[in-house]
Symmetry: D2
Subunit: 151 residues, 4 copies
């Protein structure tokens, strides 16, 4: 299941249904410990979910997207360094009636450095209430269902 990894390391090859993007840590994202600050990772994971947001609407008019975030969890597995790129991965773990769960990872130099989960709720901003996921969105999400391998 492994493959030739980033910067010479090994990391799992991602199923094409999953989302992957590469970001470069920014200097202002470090903190006085000399590494990337932990609170930055929830921002990166929001970015890792951005391809999913596009299923729900127009990036040029983000306020129209019928989505809210209900919960996040992040496990900080290893320190994240300035100076090497980070690969963000995301997949749909579970689709509920009006919500879905995204699993997420960050990899650096071939090692898993953070994993997390986000619960997004289908939400009507006009009525300020959640609503059942329409079938077309449920189908679109299902195409990205899967696990994110860790080794």
């Amino acid at each position: 299941m492994g493959g030739y990894g980033y910067h010479g390391g090994f990391f799992p090859v991602l199923d094409s249904a999953m989302f992957e993007q590469t970001i470069t840590p920014r200097f202002y994202e470090t903190d006085a410990f000399g590494h990337v600050n932990n609170t930055v990772v929830t921002g990166w994971f929001e970015t890792g979910r951005a391809p999913l947001f596009r299923l729900f609407g127009d990036a040029e008019n983000p306020a129209s997207m019928p989505l809210i975030l209900a919960r996040v969890e992040v496990d900080f597995v290893a320190q994240i360094y300035y100076g090497s790129d980070v690969i963000l991965r995301a997949a749909i773990e579970r689709i509920g009636n009006s919500s879905f769960v995204v699993i997420q990872q960050a990899w650096q130099n071939g090692a898993l450095v953070a994993r997390g989960r986000a619960v997004q709720v289908y939400f009507d901003h006009k009525t300020q209430a959640s609503a059942p996921l329409p079938d077309d969105l449920r189908d679109a999400l299902a195409q990205h269902e899967g696990e994110l391998p860790e080794n």
Copy 2:
């Protein structure tokens, strides 16, 4: 258990062993939905834990603090608005062998808007390994053990 709340609302009176601080949302913390962006809350909760960091070392030399963050969880309970102050609360939920769990809340206008949990690990930055919590720190943390009431 209630008390005269902030901006006329009601919210629970905090036991003096818990940590409480008030912050003012900043305009750049809003996003295109018009509210405070969710990813900001993990930064606020780090700030809510800052009084605990001081038990572990010198704020003027933060890199010397023998602490790392292993995990965070946040439930986004209600939208957070620009224009009203937010009260951050923190207490120690559980003390383990080399780690402890912090429970955290954010309140705005008398309503709970976010709750979370952070797992902090006692960590020797020189050996890059966790270590058992020394007794004096265990005692200091125990003085802030408690629950955060939600109503």
Copy 3:
């Protein structure tokens, strides 16, 4: 012109027409140099201008404020440390036809640590064009005109 300063230092007493607020640096605002990252200061200065934004509209509906930022300048005078509060000051330096200039300062431990300037333009978000400042706003701004002493 001096006065009993913050944390025992000396710093100039502010004319009551000026805006002043105190903020506590957050750990995630530090960077690998161990101090507050420079790019944070433009965010703080936005916060220092927030009382001015309120002259232009409703904080609960910030998107309605007829204001855009045209330019910022910041001089980083001294390093800014985690662990001590920072005082933000702002005053109106000059009022033009459709814009005004805000002068700003950040002080820590009785020393000036950053100074800056922001050019804000009165702007109609519907027509996407600047417009002359109405007389009532011009008068409200004029009440906060002044210099920010540096010693």
Copy 4:
């Protein structure tokens, strides 16, 4: 001097001595106006200077870099939108005795959206004092001297 631009627009072709990188705006970088918040741009411009930082030291040990930021200026030329990539450009405008000036731009959809300037000072973190730029660094910087065309 023009060329086929990004997303079908036209923008100037960059001399190879200049630095260029592409970043994708993140949702949390927007604000309640629905666009990218202005204070984000100083962070982006720090990122735009990162290739220069590498001339001064090891990205894995950023705290060792003998550089501080003395001043920034940013002109916000046009609104910056979520949903389209941004090109960051940087070049050395002037090399002084112990400092140098970087000119910077941000382009989106073929249009200049922000321009700025940063004054960086060669700085010995041990003595906490500025120092004359050594000849090898002066030569390295000189290879990136130039103007950034605006049309």
